[in-house]
C-alpha cells in the first residue's frame, strides 16, 4: 500500500526518484526500497515523501481500494502481459465505486492515478470514474478530463483474447466520448 501511495504520488507529480529524494531528504536508495515494498517506512517518512510530491494523507471510511491504487495494479498486470488480469482489476474498481456512496465514492475516484503506460487503459479508468461519479451527481475529477485520457482512435474493451463488437448505443457517454467502447451491461455488478 505504501509503495503504491508514494510511487503514484511521485509519478503524477512527474518527479524522478532522484528529484523526490533531493526534495524530501530521504536517501534515494531508501526511496527505491520503499517503492519496491522492501522497506517499511515510518509514518513520518511517508508524510514527508508525500508532502514533497504535493500530496497529503487523508483517511476515508472504507476498506475498498481507490482508482489510483487499482490503476497501479492494472499497470503491473499489463507489465506482466496479463490483460485478462487488468480487466479483473478494472471490474474490481467498478464494483468498489458501486459499493460506496456520497463522499466515499468521490474520494475513491478523486486522486489522480499514475499513467498505466497503455493509453486505452488510462482512458478507460478515467471514463469509469467519471461515469460512476456522475451517477451520484458529482462532477468528473479534473484528471479524468485531461486530453491524455481521451483516445484519438476508438478502442473496444477486451482482455486480449477476443474482441466482441459493441454497439455504440450501448456505450455510456463517459466512455464513448473518451473513445472506449464498453457495453453498459459489462459494468453491471452482480
Amino acid at each position: 500500500m505504501t509503495l503504491d501511495l508514494i510511487r503514484t504520488a511521485r509519478r503524477t507529480n512527474k518527479q524522478t526518484q532522484k528529484a523526490l529524494s533531493a526534495r524530501s531528504g530521504v536517501p534515494a536508495s531508501s526511496l527505491s526500497l520503499i517503492e519496491q515494498g522492501k522497506r517499511n517506512p515510518t509514518l513520518q517518512t511517508v508524510d514527508s515523501l508525500l508532502r514533497s510530491t504535493g500530496h497529503t494523507l487523508v483517511t476515508v471510511r472504507t476498506v475498498r481500494e481507490s482508482a489510483a491504487t487499482i490503476a497501479g495494479r492494472i499497470e503491473r498486470a499489463l507489465g506482466d502481459s496479463r490483460p485478462d488480469l487488468a480487466v479483473r482489476h478494472f471490474l474490481q474498481l467498478n464494483d468498489n465505486l458501486i459499493a460506496e456512496h456520497n463522499e466515499v465514492r468521490y474520494v475513491l475516484g478523486s486522486s489522480e492515478p499514475a499513467a498505466t503506460g497503455v493509453k486505452h487503459w488510462d482512458a478507460a479508468i478515467a471514463a469509469l470514474v467519471a461515469y460512476r461519479l456522475a451517477e451520484e451527481d458529482f462532477p468528473a475529477p479534473s484528471w479524468t478530463l485531461h486530453p491524455d485520457r481521451y483516445l484519438k482512435k476508438r478502442w473496444t474493451f477486451n482482455d486480449g483474447l477476443y474482441v466482441i463488437p459493441v454497439d455504440t448505443v450501448d456505450v455510456p457517454t463517459e466512455f464513448l466520448e473518451r473513445g472506449v467502447l464498453i457495453d453498459a451491461a459489462t459494468l453491471v455488478s452482480v
Binding site: 474490481q92 459499493a99 473496444t156 474493451f157 483474447l161 457495453d183 459489462t186 452482480v190
Partner: protein, 171 residues
C-alpha cells in the same frame, strides 16, 4: 471461514458460483476479491463471514449471494471441494458455469471464460453450446448477445485446455 465455522460448531453447506468457483476448481484466472455463494443455514455462516471480514480488514460483502439468482432453475451440477461432516463446500460444475456465463454474455467480461469453459466441456460449435444451455435453462434460447460472442470465439479459436488448480487445503 471454514476454521471459524468448525470452531463454533456451526454446520454449513456452501455452494459457490461465478469467478470464485472457476478459480477454486477449474482454472487460474487471477485473484478473486469476493465469493458468490449460497449458504445454508445462512444466519450463523453470514455472521462468521462478517467476523472474517473484520479480522482481515476486508469489505463486509466479500461473501455474498448476489449471483446465486442466476443459478439454473432446471438442473444444477455441483462438485464437492471440501467435506468434513459439518461443513461442506461445493462449486458449480464447468458445464453449469458455462451455461451461466452464456446467459450473461457481457462483452469483454465473459468471453474468455466462455471460451475456456467450452474447451473444458468439449463444446466445439454453436449448436453444442445451445444444447448445453438448454439442459440448464429449458425453454430458453440463447440471446443474440450470446450468439455474437460465440461467433467471435469460434472464429478466433478456443483456448488450450488450462491446468486444474491444486486441491483446496482447508485443514
Amino acid at each position: 471461514m471454514v476454521a471459524l465455522l468448525k470452531e463454533r460448531g456451526e454446520p454449513a453447506g456452501i455452494r459457490i458460483v461465478g469467478g470464485a468457483a472457476i478459480s477454486l476448481r477449474h482454472y487460474e484466472r487471477g485473484p478473486t476479491k469476493d465469493i458468490d455463494a449460497s449458504v445454508h443455514p445462512s444466519g450463523p455462516a453470514l455472521e462468521v463471514a462478517r467476523a472474517v471480514a473484520y479480522e482481515n480488514t476486508w469489505a463486509d460483502d466479500w461473501f455474498n449471494s448476489a449471483a446465486t439468482m442466476f443459478v439454473p432453475f432446471a438442473k444444477t451440477e455441483w462438485v464437492p471441494i471440501f467435506e468434513d461432516g459439518d461443513v461442506g463446500i461445493w462449486v458449480a460444475s464447468a458445464p453449469m458455469l458455462l451455461a451461466m456465463k452464456l446467459r450473461a454474455s457481457r462483452p469483454g467480461r465473459d468471453d474468455r471464460d466462455i471460451g475456456t469453459l467450452m474447451t473444458i466441456c468439449g463444446v466445439r460449435s454453436k449448436s453444442e453450446a445451445e444444447d448445453l444451455y438448454e439442459q440448464f435453462y429449458p425453454g430458453e434460447i440463447l440471446e443474440p448477445k450470446a450468439h455474437r460472442m460465440l461467433d467471435v470465439i469460434l472464429r478466433t479459436g478456443l483456448p488450450d485446455l488450462p491446468s486444474t488448480p491444486p486441491p483446496l487445503d482447508l485443514g
